[in-house]
């Protein structure tokens, strides 16, 4: 299943690439993309794993850009 999130205060395009790379590496993620222009994160993973992935992705986002915040749509 695909889930869409908004990354509030996503500041730089290169950070978006870094986030994308790290989130793709989270266990259970089939594919993920961070779209800088619309501040979106789209993750494809099994529904049962989504909550854990969301938590881990939140940490990834924070570690790259401390001001940024992951919000479920």
């Amino acid at each position: 299943m695909k889930a869409a999130f908004t990354i509030e205060n996503l500041g730089c395009a290169k950070c978006a690439l870094k986030m994308e790379k790290k989130i793709c590496g989270i266990k259970g993620v089939r594919s993920a993309s961070v779209i800088f222009m619309s501040k979106k994160l789209i993750v494809d993973a099994d529904e049962g794993e989504m909550l854990r992935i969301e938590e881990e992705a939140t940490k990834v986002v924070k570690s790259i850009e401390p001001d940024a915040r992951l919000v479920k749509r």
Binding site: A13, K14, L17, M37, S38
Partner: protein, 557 residues
Amino acid sequence: MILDENFLTVIASASAFMIGAEIEGAAVMIFFRIGDMFEDAAVQKTRKSISELVEMQPVSVRVVRDGKEIDVGPEDVAVGEYYIVLPGERIPIDGTVMSGYSSLDTKAITGESMPRDVAPGESALSGCINMTGALTVRADRAYSDSAVARILELVEESGARKAKTEKFITAFAKYYTPSVVVAAIAVATVPTLIFGLPYEAWVYRALVFLVVSCPCALVLSVPLTFFCGVGRASKSGILINGGDVMDRLALTDTVVVDKTGTVTKGTFEFSGIHPHGVTEDHLLEYAAKSEYRSDHPISAAIIDRYGREIDPGEIGKSVNLAGKGIRTEVNGRIVHAGNSKLMEDIGVEPCGVHGGATCIHVAIDGTYSGHISISDEPKEDSAEAIRELKDLGVKNVVMLTGDNMTSAGRVAEIVGIDAFRSDLLPEDKLEILEGYLTVREGKGSLVYVGDGINDAPSIARADVGVAMGNIGSDSAVEAADVVIMNDSLRRLPEAIRISRRTRGIAYQNIMLSLGFKFAALALATLGLAGMWFAIFADVGVAAIAIINGTRAYGKLF
């Protein structure tokens, strides 16, 4: 995190101070900061402009509950609830007009500047502006399934499907910074430590490397270009599903179009009746009754023509024979109504067939009883669309149809399509498409255009599947790479032009950014370029690339 661009900038600036290049050291800091601020402002502006679309997002909806009007959030409106839209307001949720008359400005949704008049019973698409009169509308969908929400989602998420150039940038960015940093270290150490060359000059050259070590101009400007391109297309009522779709659209060399509803209006009109051995009335009555259970547009035209009430009690079992017609028991008699293939199947010889229209043959109890001709006119601008496609260098335009050869030939001739295949069953279309896909040469792509209802498999199979005028249909939006919001085929050449332009601008940005970065690196190594050139190659070029990228949208600044 050591290769973080901020960290590298600090090193560059601090080292500049240490070797006595204070002005350059300060300039690096100041211009990077200015560059950052400019980038932020440009991105904000771009987001906002493209979100002229976002302005379509309704804040509240005036719902009628228990006889009272109350304002609620669009998400809280249930399907079936009634809401009110005053003149000047936007329709928030797809629905049906229950009372009131008005004109709708559909430009934001379909790119069409002609207003559309609506009356009770007609559909009101969200995103349109109600122009003249107050309307009461019944919500037919949830807000999240309405046109506005879907378009926004599509545009915002289109970036997930990256164009080849974007993928290249992502891959390039991974290696660029580390390589440049390694090179910088080499430039600072090798000549000085091994060849004993003057230390200050070479460290200065290495600092120039650090200043251009961030691929920022590329990483930002190329996706921005595609975002603007998708935004530009949606302004014309064309929803393009991502940068990779633009890649393939730009290389279109074969366009396969479905006839009915795509090239033609898809509204069938009764154009003649030719009874055989029965009266006209008798033929029409049995034809209408046999088609009673069918929802095919042709059936509607025949039933419409018959114009009398049909008693459902007279209609027995009715079997739909896809691509052929229908077999229905009417008053205990077996009626076959359909094309010549159906007649062949039941061993009946049609007679007296002439003219270029679509024929519905009718056999009652296995005896040929005549046919009804139905015509479906090409849309006014289909011919123009085909001409534009050819002007764009599209080599083949092929029309597919389940209709007979004469009527297909007539439409093809009017709109200027040179090749068509007629008398096809729904599954034949996919097979023909597969055929084209296997014999193609080179890297040109195949575009299939259909209405998205019964040709979803073909839309999904083509390099680029285009669904026309069906934002409402789930299957269309899911299977299609491109959705054309109004019914005009002319949006296809426009989409190809936008894609080519967007890709062109993305290439320019790559050439520009890489050109300046590599020039800075090469010239710095030779001692021919200093910090100022590097600062321009980084910050200045990023600004130029961003402004250039926004051209994909049209005028922004």
